[in-house]
Every structure is written in C-alpha cells, then in structure tokens.
Amino acid sequence: MTEEKKVVDLLAVFSDLEPAADAVEQLRALGVHDDCMNVISGVPVTEAMLGRPRQWTNVPRIAMGGAILGFGAGFFLAFISPYLYPYPIQVNTHAFVPGPPTVVVLFELTMLGMLLSTFLGVFLDSFFPNYRPMKYVPEISDGKIAILVECPHMEEGKITDTLKKLGAESVKPAEAQHL
C-alpha cells in the first residue's frame, strides 16, 4: 500500500458531549465521511445529539419475524396438534378446537416468539458475543465520549490537531486490545 492510501484509525476522547458533537461536525467539514466515524459512549447518546445520521437497526423487523414464527407455533399447537392424536378426543358437543383457549395459546406463543427474537436481534445486529480485540479505552465506561475516526495517513496530523483544539483530552492511534 502506498503512503497516500494508507489508512489509520484515531481514537479521540472527550469529557463532554458538546465538544464531541463539535468534533463530529468539524471532521465532516474536513472531508471525513460519516461512515468513517463511530462514536463510543458509556451512556446512550442519541444520533440527534451528536448530529450524526440515524443508525439503522433490524431489531424491530427481527422481532416481527419472531412474532410471526411464534404465532405459527401457536397455530400448530392450538389448531393442528389436536388432530394428531391417533384417537381424537371429542367431548360431548364441545368444539374440537375451541375459540377462547386458542386465543390464549396464540397470544402466549406470539409474545414469546417476539421477545425471544428481539433478544436475539440485539445479538445479531451487534455481532454479540464478540471477544476479539477491539478498539476501545476503558475511560469510556467512566463517562467519556470517544470518537473513532478512520482517516488517510496523510491527514492524521491535521485531524489530530483539530480534535485537540476542539477539546479532546487525548487523540491517539486506536489499538485493538482484548477487553
């Protein structure tokens, strides 16, 4: 790789939200694309607070998929399983598949499917569990906000200076480490 094309990751640590949001804006002005930045924080800081594009999440869709699967499982148990008996049990004039109990089974399994898949959705979307080395500093869980910037090697000095001027406590090349 030539020197111009070499890319480095910088990790800038801020102690407050305002300078971090300013830094995001300034980085964009310097030509850093939003896809080349990631904000890491110890509290859920919304995209709007940082002026960042909205994050995409598949969790609601995965939840919906799980609800449909759960409904299907409930449908099988409530409507189909009674017919699977070798000797179906008909009690007097009672409906073979009665309505109200069916609603209970459908409801419980639909909710179970939805909540299980919501939980799994977080794992899928966040690539959890992930025990590989990652770019991170423990100060983040102490309330600091870090901006992880991917930039051309040639721009490293300029971006470091800019981030420091905007109040970054430290700006250094990000190193992947075991958490």
């Binding site: 859920p44 966040s126 869980s141």
Partner: protein, 483 residues
C-alpha cells in the same frame, strides 16, 4: 458530561419558596450528580468489597435452611410420596399452589417498576429497576419450584411439554393448566432477557475495572460491548420493544393463574373479576416486596444511601397506597356480587371465611392489605421513612399470603358435597415453603455480590436529563426528554 454541567444556571442558592439548591440535591438523586467514574467505583465497591460477618452468617443460615427445607424435604417427598404433604380430599390444592400464586405475585413488581414506569417515563424508577427485575426472575424460580412440588411425581413433568412423543399424546392445550405452563415459561424467559439487556453496559463497566475471575466473568457477560452508536441503538430499540410487550405478558400470567380457579364452577372461585383482582393482588404484594428489598439493600450495602433515597420510598409508598385502594375495590366487588348472588353454597363459604376456624386470617388479610397501608401511607413523612414503609411492605405480604391461603385451601374446604368437608392441615408444605423463601433470599444475597444492583448508566442518563429551572420566584425540577 452531565455532571460537570452547571445545572443550576437559572437557580439561585435560595429562592423565595425556601428551597435551596442544596435542598434539591439532597432530596433528588437525579439532581445530585457525581462523576460517572465515582458512581462506577461506588457500585463496584458495594459488590467487590470484603464480605462482612453478617453476609457470611446470612449465607450459612440461608444455605442451611435451603439444604433442609428444600433439598432434604423435597427428596424425602419424592422418596416417600406426596402423602407426607397435607393435601387431601377436598383440599387437593394446598400451600404449594398458595406459594405458586404468591411468588408469581412477587414477580410482578419487577415488570411493573421496570416496564410500566419506563413506558410512562417515571424518573424515580432509575436506580432500582434492576433490583426489582432480579426479584421477578428469582420469584419466578420459586413459583416454578412450587408447581413442581405440587406435581408430586416431578420426574414426569416433561409430560406437560408439547412434543411428538411415541404414543402421539399431546397435552390438552385447552386446559388452564397448560396455559399456565405457556404463560409462566413465557414470562420467566422474557423477564430474564429483560433483566439481561440493560445489564450489558453495566457488565462492560464491571469488566473495565475488575481483575481475576471477576474480569473473566464480566468479560463473557459483557459480550464485547463497547458502547458504539450501533450497539446503543439496537439495545434501546430492544428495550423499548420489551418494555411495551412484557406488560401484556405480565398481565396475562396472573390472569391465567386466576383462571385456574375462576374457570371452575366452584363456590367462591367462579368469578369473572378474578383476572384483574389477581393482577392487582400481585402488584400489591410485589410492590411490598420491592420496598423491603430496597430497604435491605440501602441499609446493608455500601454507598447505597446515595442511590436509594427517601424520595424513592415516598414514590413507591404512593404506588402502594393506590394499589391497596385498587385491591380493596376489587375485593369488595368480588365479595359483593358473590354475597348478593344468593347461592346457598357460596353463602356457606363466605360465612366460613369470616366466622370459621380461620376467620382470624380473613380479618387479618383486610387489616394487612387495607387498614395498615391506608393508615400509614397517606402521610408523606411516614411514607419517606424506609423502615416504616418496608414494615408496611412486610405486613402487606403477610396479608397477601393469607389472601391466597383463603382462596386456595380454605375455599376448597366448602363445596357442594358436605360429606367431604374437611379442614386442610399442611404437612411438609411448611418446610418446603420456608425453603423456597430462603432460596429466594439466598439467591438475592449472592447476586448482590456479582450483579451491579444499580444500573449506573441509567442513573447517569437520568441525571443528564434533569436540571433546576426558575419560574418567577420559584425554583422547580425540570426534566428533558432525551430519547
């Protein structure tokens, strides 16, 4: 971040309403921010500090009770048969099912505090959502144990599960007992997942400041969480879905438990109001249990007085008072209709409740569930006194256990066949019941040393959103909606 922000920009040190900034800080956790690192250290110290002799004494005593009351006694019941329990004609349902209903009730507090208060953005919930969620999970474990004890031949419990077995015998999914299995399983799994999701960032926090076996444990449980924008977005979305979806699941669990009774055409049970009556009863005992847990945590764990304050007892006390009123309304509603109905056997049963050999229990139930909470919780000062509110919580739980005892074995004593009438006398149910209570407390005591009981990131998020504002001459608390 928020802690170094000047929150009192608009506030004077003293205003004409007499409330200084210091007064607000002392009163409200959300207005008394500390640096996040300091809060993390406080929570970590409460977990990792050297256990006191009191901790070890509690563990040994509780462990002994669990070993005798639960393990040994249950093993004996399995070997000798369910005959050593007191259940017999006509009271086939005894303390095992009283305890099942009781523990499911306790488990409602976690969801109520964590999900309903989250949906309605009740800010006071923030420091104790996890403590309540833990109650839900541990309470449901005891409920599950109680059901298995009631089964007797517990090794055949897998027959309840729908699976294509050799003889193609499917469980009857149209029976309330199978709905119980589905509802309790759904609720146990959902509440455990709902406990775990908001725990992930706190596990990451614990991972970042631990060493040795703790580091390895928290590393595994933190799943590699760093706090990137994507991770927070997925987590926030999932927690929102859970908060809304787990509420109907919570309602359904105790409603279905109530149908175990109400779907039968027995005097005293066949009531259309049993569903909501049970749900309100569950919330009543659950909130009572939550306040006991908070008082114990506050009194025994390091730094917890910062996180759990009088304002929290005051807020829960208000909820307890409202729920007590709702319980009284449902109780009277149920009683009134049964009394007015004029059915001979129902009248006989109501008379037996009030003036039978366990009439004292019926009266105590009303005193514990209605008279005591109403007499104490109306007063702000009393409501804000941790020992007093937690004592009310204990009394409510005694009252709610009595209520379940009256509904289950006492009501089964009177039926339409007088020749079968017989008082229920519990056998090993008492030891087993005490064993489940000890296991619940033991699990909680052990968890307090491993799981951060305070969701630090949620507290910090709340502190970021709160500030003091001035309206005219008055300083008031203002909350911003950050999400």
């Amino acid at each position: 971040m928020a802690y170094d922000k000047n929150k009192s920009e608009h506030a004077h040190h003293d205003d004409h309403s007499g409330h200084s900034e210091a007064h607000f800080r002392e009163k409200h956790l959300m207005l008394d921010p500390l640096p996040r690192g300091q809060m993390n250290d406080m929570v970590m110290e409460s977990m990792t500090g050297k256990p006191t002799w009191k901790f070890w004494a509690a563990v040994i005593i509780l462990g002994g009770i669990v070993a005798y009351g639960l393990v040994y006694t249950w093993a004996r019941m399995i070997i000798e048969g369910i005959g050593i329990a007191g259940v017999n004609r006509p009271s086939y349902w005894g303390i095992f099912l009283v305890n099942t209903v009781f523990w499911i009730g306790i488990s409602h507090a976690g969801t109520f505090i964590s999900a309903i208060l989250r949906v309605f953005k009740a800010e006071f919930r923030r420091p104790f959502t996890r403590a309540a969620e833990l109650m839900t999970t541990f309470g449901l474990v005891q409920a599950g144990f109680s059901v298995f004890m009631h089964m007797g031949r517990v090794w055949l419990s897998y027959w309840l599960f729908p699976y294509p077995n050799q003889r193609m015998l499917w469980p009857n999914l149209h029976s309330p007992l199978t709905w119980d299995l589905l509802a309790i399983t759904t609720y146990l799994l959902s509440s455990t997942m709902y406990l775990f999701l908001p725990l992930i960032p706190d596990m990451a926090m614990a991972r970042d400041r631990s060493t040795g076996w703790r580091k390895n444990l928290y590393k595994v449980l933190a799943l590699g969480f760093r706090g990137t924008e994507g991770e927070w977005t997925h987590l926030r979305n999932a927690m929102n879905i859970f908060a809304f979806a787990i509420i109907p699941v919570m309602f359904s669990v105790h409603t279905i438990v109530s149908w175990d009774f109400a779907a039968a055409t027995r005097p005293g049970w066949n009531s259309t109001i049993f569903g909501p009556y049970f749900v309100v009863g569950a919330l009543h005992s659950g909130m009572g249990a939550a306040v006991i847990v908070l008082a114990v945590i506050r009194g025994n764990m390091k730094h917890m007085k910062y996180f759990i304050r009088a304002e929290h007892f005051d807020a829960i006390g208000k909820l307890m008072l409202i729920i007590s009123m709702a319980w009284a309304y449902f109780f009277f509603n149920d009683y009134m209709v049964q009394w007015y109905g004029g059915d001979k056997w129902t009248h006989q049963l109501l008379h037996f409740h009030e003036e039978g050999p366990l009439g004292w229990m019926w009266l105590s139930m009303l005193i514990c569930n209605v008279a005591v909470p109403w007499a104490i919780l109306w007063n702000t000062k009393w409501r804000s006194t941790p020992w007093l509110v937690s004592t009310v919580g204990i009394i409510i739980n005694v009252g709610m256990w009595f209520e379940r005892y009256i509904i289950v074995p006492v009501s089964l004593t009177i039926n339409r066949a007088p020749f079968t009438w017989r008082m229920y006398k519990p056998g090993v149910e008492i030891q087993l019941g005490i064993g489940t209570l000890a296991l619940f407390i033991l699990l909680y005591v052990l968890a307090s040393k491993i799981i951060p009981l305070i969701p630090v990131w949620e507290v910090q998020e709340g502190q970021m959103a709160h500030e003091l504002k001035k309206f005219g001459r008055e300083t008031v608390v203002s909350v911003s909606e950050l999400e």
